[in-house]
Symmetry: C2
Subunit: 452 residues, 2 copies
């Protein structure tokens, strides 16, 4: 299981863990027929997960079920943060759909109440919200704002970043693979590598120096600087959580050069890390924060949070209207999500459950004693397990074997990172003790198989 840049490029273009009809095994005739219909009508831009795709017909809590009633443990999906088929979200959406669903050019109460509740969860001066429907739209709007208010174009991102699928968001998403060109107005910096080092203060300094160098390079090429956007847990870079504060240091460099620092909270936001927002871990105050995925537990809603000063500068020249953005039904779902997170204490739960899961994973990796796991890292219920080969090089084949082995045990995860050698464990926040035990049992069995 060795690794070179060429094969990593090739794998990235096809997506690790994608279904491949030519190599498919174990599928029944009905699923084969459904996949054939799917390929006819949805076409080639679509990908399915797994050599043997999961055919889901029902879900509840942290569990998906197939037509036979078999129960899949969901340790992957962050969108249904307050649980699949959450009854409170369902009731709120159904009630609102029978009452009023319109846009923000009429005066309605719900979007104002919710915006006040949401912005109260942010430090000053982040007190205003603009709503959209997807993380991609919110990222795209944050870029428009950054470019408009700075007059710049150049954006700094991390080397394997993912920020979305609009033209502008895809242009800052190198993790989409080599078919997705990154323009010269985008500069890449390497995330700190907690396995290979350096660590601690040197890692923070090295990251800040790369940001400084990127800004200097923009200047040398005559590209005015607009800012930097980073996922606060660097998910697609392989979940890069340390050293604490390295993002705050980078943000200082960005601001000193007149740029905006944008925190992409689409993955870490809404309690995933045990705090409301991932940037809190770094003692960081972003200029803009971008929210999405779990915000409506699957009902499309997203937002950009910022200061009145920034939104005034943007809004004085440009109006922003998103037909479905901040509609009463999406807002009702989002409000129910906040109710669930608060009343069920899901921030504290994410922290506790994440610690329990991390220590269990470390114990299993350590007792395997085969050195395949270089590190188990996590923040709340977002955990990564990094696989390496005997020479210490990234081992994506091992990670894929674990993803596949867990799927055979009906446990859902995926892999991430530049070399896709980092197991990505990111369950609904309602993942309970029994779910944790089942996950650890499965992981232990798969780890044993891997060693054999």
């Amino acid at each position: 299981m060795t690794q070179d840049a060429g094969s990593a490029e090739k794998r990235r273009s096809i997506m690790v863990n994608a279904y491949d009809g030519a190599a498919a095994t174990g599928l029944g005739a009905a699923d084969r027929e459904l996949i054939a219909r799917r390929e006819r009508v949805l076409g080639r831009p679509y990908r399915l997960f797994y050599r043997e795709p999961v055919h889901a017909v029902r879900a509840a809590g942290a569990h998906l079920f197939d037509a036979s009633g078999a129960d899949f443990l969901d340790a992957y999906n962050n969108v249904p943060a307050v649980g699949h088929s959450n009854p409170r979200v369902q009731a709120a959406v159904a009630a609102q759909l029978g009452t009023l669903n319109t846009h923000t050019r009429y005066l309605t109460d719900g979007v104002i109440d919710y915006a006040e509740r949401l912005t109260a969860l942010f430090p000053a001066p982040l007190s205003q919200a603009v709503f959209a429907c997807t993380g991609s739209e919110a990222v795209d709007l944050a870029l428009r704002i950054a470019r408009r208010v700075t007059g710049g174009e150049g954006i700094i991102i991390t080397r394997n970043a993912y920020h979305g699928t609009t033209s502008a968001a895809a242009a800052i998403s190198p993790s989409l693979g080599p078919g997705n060109e990154i323009p010269e107005t985008v500069a890449l910096v390497d995330a700190p590598d907690s396995v290979r080092g350096p660590g601690g203060d040197a890692a923070g300094a090295a990251f800040a120096q790369q940001v400084e160098a990127a800004i200097a390079d923009f200047a040398a090429r005559g590209i005015p600087f607009a800012g930097m956007i980073v996922d606060s847990v660097l998910s697609s870079d392989g979940l890069r959580l340390a050293p604490l504060g390295f993002l705050a240091r980078a943000a200082e460099v960005v601001r000193a050069a007149g740029g905006l620092y944008i925190a992409d909270e689409v993955q870490p936001g809404f309690g995933r890390t045990g705090s409301w927002w991932g940037f809190e871990r770094h003692g960081l105050l972003p200029d803009l924060a971008v929210l999405g995925k779990p915000m409506g537990n699957g009902i499309p809603i997203s937002a950009v949070i910022g200061s009145p000063e920034l939104f005034d500068r943007f809004g004085a020249e440009v109006r922003y209207f998103n037909t479905f953005g901040g509609n009463p039904v999406s807002v009702a779902a989002a409000n129910a999500v906040l109710d669930e997170i608060e009343e069920r204490g899901l921030l504290a739960h994410a922290e506790r459950a994440g610690e329990r899961l991390a220590s269990g994973l470390r114990e299993i990796a350590s007792s395997a004693g085969d050195g395949r796991v270089a590190e188990v890292r996590g923040a709340g219920l977002f955990l990564g397990v990094e696989y390496v080969d005997a020479a210490g090089a990234p081992d994506p084949a091992a990670a894929l074997a674990v993803v596949t082995g867990l799927r055979e045990r009906r446990i859902l995860v995926s892999a991430s990172g530049t070399f896709e050698n980092v197991l990505k464990i990111r369950p609904p926040l309602v993942f309970d003790d029994a779910d944790t035990e089942r996950f650890l049992d499965g992981f232990a069995a798969v780890s044993a198989d891997l060693g054999g």
Copy 2:
């Protein structure tokens, strides 16, 4: 009520019919306080309609209600096409939300069933669908596909087009006003003007000649050509419906030059014009069609429809994944919308109701005899009333006076067009005979006031 380009520019930057706190009249203390809270938390990119905004708390069919129970006739909103608070959509969404809501990387039945049903409504070879959440996202994806498969950059649009709010969609939306820059890779052509002429074949020829000239100009400037995108009813250009076939002729020119023709069906699609798609009026076969607004009756869902050949070329190099795109809940809403359109015969209804409305409007305009209405035009339940002054110049003040006068009678419409002098009448498709009578009575009264 005269008009010059400078004042049109200024008005476009602030949006016709926007609420202006300094000029507000007739608002109660509670609404003033709600607007103050709104301005604090939603900020300046947001705009409210009307000098006296509509505060909606409930809606049903083609009617919105305020807190006092007052009934507003909705002749403006195309999103709730099958009616505000439609019970079938509500039931479908509630049932699906309690069953399963996940993404397209697991195998699920609903999105495949719906994609088959939807693409069957298109002519061959448009047999595949890619789902997103908003019209903006779908437009943005169509642009990515056009640029990727042609290798081009240059896009032709109409002079006052609106296609959306992402960076790439806003760049082809000059109707957003002068604060929204249009890049040099975008070329503008003038829509046929059925009031000022030329009409008939000369109008089609003039439009095609502009497209040819734009392509030649791209070539002269070294900008490779990617294609053309047009709203099939040219809503924001003031609803430009004639001569029939002018868009087909333009599409031929585009294809001869190697570009793609994209039909923006976000406004005309799903029966608005009395046919499923607006491009059908022109005998046109687009390369890509973009769907949105009424597709889920307010639950966010959108799509790009195209041929396997195009999606293959795009998808071979680029994967497209939209977290909420094609999720089971949005698909359940969209499926219920098709049920409603088909079972209630809303295509035929749109045609009949539109004709009745158009003939009523023409009669009122004609008996007013003041020459203010240059033309009443329409396709199904999308109608425009164009206002001119005594010299025949566009008269946006007259249109705004009608919008405001109708709002005072609790009837909701808006204005569009380069000079915002065209009344935009675009009610939910369930607009019934009583709604039509009420609308015509209100229009007659406001027209009489205007004449006085």
